[in-house]
């Protein structure tokens, strides 16, 4: 199914006249883009950029505007006239934002770890090893995809409460630690590896564990990074589930803590803006650093499922 992309990912060198030896997947057009088309494309790109990034910039700008500055002017000003980091300090002094961030991080690390280990083990077994009941297990994983998570969220809470984990960070992380979708993604990724490789390894005396570790895993790194990135983002951004599980303000994750911002500081949007930026910037850094793996995983077909 999936087309093997160039592992080295060579930089595209535009040499006019000579068509590239191998055209890159995903470009339907022709080897040259006319200058006019180029201009139109960039204008549209910048337009969409303003729509998608504009609100974040506006919030960043608000968070940096001095207390004496009029933030309600009819003519909006993007650049702060009296830039200050004071609001960031004020927010972190009033609300334990750093504790919230640490709590979010604890949950996210647990969820990423659980998903990477749990789903690659299961995905490998389901796609590379023959055993009775394999189809049944696979069917079970597929069936749960139909079920929206919110439908079972109440009884999931009851289960976590029975374990004595209500109002704990571990209780927040636990149910999401091995996602059915991730198991299927890993299953798909392992399946695209030719079976002959396994057979050759068997001839060489490799056991199942060695085949998993030295043959399977290295070839699905793209999908693993997609699973890890999505697990991290999902856990960091999740709101409803921690809102239900956590009652103790000391244990709040960032998203749950943030919703109190608007209540506490409703008269000063600068402070709310500073608080949201503290929650937003880490995830942007994580994503911007890892986007290379993410888009590579997309090309490998990890998103299609």
């Amino acid at each position: 199914m999936s087309v093997v992309t160039d592992p080295a990912r060579p930089a595209v060198v535009k040499s006019p006249g000579t068509p590239p030896a191998k055209r890159r997947r995903g470009s339907f057009g022709f080897n040259t883009v006319s200058p006019r088309e180029k201009v139109v494309r960039y204008v549209l790109l910048v337009f969409v950029l303003l729509i998608t990034i504009g609100p974040f910039l506006w919030q960043l700008s608000t968070s940096l505007k001095g207390s004496g500055e009029d933030i309600y002017t009819r003519i909006p000003r993007l650049l702060p006239a009296q830039p200050t980091f004071g609001h960031y300090k004020e927010v972190t002094d009033t609300i334990p934002v750093w504790d919230y961030a640490r709590n979010s991080l604890v949950v996210a690390v647990l969820v990423v770890g659980g998903n990477v280990i749990g789903s690659s083990l299961a995905g490998f077994a389901l796609s590379r090893l023959q055993f009775r009941g394999r189809r049944l297990v696979l069917g079970l994983f597929l069936a749960t995809l139909v079920l929206p998570g919110e439908v079972t969220i109440i009884s999931q809470y009851v289960t976590v409460r029975e374990f004595g984990l209500a109002n704990t960070l571990f209780g927040v992380a636990l149910p999401g630690m091995i996602g059915a979708l991730n198991v299927l993604l890993m299953y798909n990724a392992f399946r695209s590896l030719p079976i002959e490789v396994d057979q050759a390894a068997v001839v060489d005396g490799a056991n199942a564990w060695q085949r998993f570790l030295y043959i399977g895993l290295p070839s699905v790194r793209g999908t693993i990074s997609v699973v890890a990135i999505f697990a991290f983002i999902g856990a960091w951004d999740d709101f409803l589930w921690p809102l239900i599980v956590l009652t103790d303000p000391n244990k709040y994750t960032l998203t749950v803590g943030l919703q109190y911002l608007s209540g506490t500081f409703s008269n000063n949007p600068r402070l709310i803006a500073a608080g949201t930026m503290i929650a937003f910037i880490p995830i942007v850094i994580v994503f911007a650093t890892l986007q290379r793996f993410f888009f590579k995983g997309v090309e490998e077909g990890a998103v299609k499922g």
Partner: protein, 292 residues
């Protein structure tokens, strides 16, 4: 041919299978059981028969929530099936700097719904960016109550959902566009078809399957909306609680001394049916379309 001991696969599958049974399968069964009880968030509760379901029938807030969900879905569907496809076509060609644009377009997806809702709350404030600009341009005389009017609040949340979803569906389309034959485009271009006709007659049929998948994803996620409406309405569900979604109602009943997990479970069952029906309809449409 087997090259492993019989229990090896099971050892590898057991962790994931345990999670599936404990946190997916059992809760689905337990939701049904709980819906016949009056279980409380702190524990306890007993069997109450069909009482919760009788309450459902007379729950005015639920009626509003269902209406809101339908509006949400109907408005989101056309925008989120079409706009992300256009975006995907736009970022498909590997121009210099395209990775930056792709990443930037994906940023709203990566950000937490809580964060973006707080940002929009400020933009849509009575004295925020949108009202300020509109007044300056003389489009309106007084601020529009984006966050306090029942219908404007719903519309604001819908726009937020659409804005946040653009990048997500763009990426799915982008992956699908890679599989659309380039030869077809070249042949059509040789025959004199312009970009628009190639889009309509080659690109759209080429991503048809993905389009169906995406419309299923959009419908289901529109019916499951929570964070956007919750934050924009300040957790109150709008004037008179008329801007609640079904999930917001579930959350309300999940907490506090007034909480009732039994009723919340009955609401969950309603949610299950309203999300599964459009899924089945669209899947069926897909099958029929594929046969034709």
């Amino acid at each position: 041919m087997r090259y492993h001991r019989w229990f090896t696969p099971w050892v590898l599958v057991i962790p994931a299978l345990t999670w599936l049974l404990v946190f997916n399968l059992w809760p689905s069964i337990n939701t049904v059981i709980l819906s016949f009880t009056n279980a409380r968030p702190i524990g306890g509760g007993h069997f109450v028969g069909l009482k919760n379901f009788e309450t459902l029938l007379h729950d005015e807030q639920l009626r509003w929530a269902l209406l809101n969900s339908v509006i949400y879905m109907v408005v989101c569907l056309p925008f989120l099936t079409v706009l992300p496809l256009l975006l995907a076509v736009l970022v498909e060609k590997k121009l210099p700097g395209i990775t930056f644009f792709r990443t930037a377009f994906y940023t709203p997806v990566v950000a937490s719904a809580v964060v973006v809702a707080l940002i929009w709350q400020w933009i849509l404030d009575d004295r925020g960016l949108v009202n300020g600009l509109a007044e300056k341009l003389g489009v309106i005389s007084g601020p529009l109550p984006f966050l306090s009017d029942q219908w404007l609040l719903l519309l604001s949340a819908i726009s937020l959902t659409i804005w946040k979803g653009l990048g997500y569906y763009m990426i799915i389309y982008l992956a699908a566009l890679g599989n659309v034959g380039r030869d077809l485009h070249e042949a059509a271009a040789v025959d004199g078809a312009g970009p628009f006709r190639r889009f309509v007659h080659i690109t759209i049929p080429g991503v048809r399957g993905t389009m169906i998948l995406i419309s299923i994803l959009i419908s289901v996620s529109a019916l499951r909306v929570f964070s956007e409406l919750f934050i924009l309405s300040g957790g109150k569900g709008g004037p008179g609680g008329r801007d609640n979604s079904v999930v917001m109602l579930i959350q309300q009943y999940s907490q506090g001394f007034e909480g009732n997990l039994g009723y919340a479970s009955a609401l969950s069952i309603v949610l299950f049916f309203v999300t599964v029906v459009p899924m089945l309809v669209l899947a069926r449409l897909n099958r029929r379309g594929a046969e034709a």
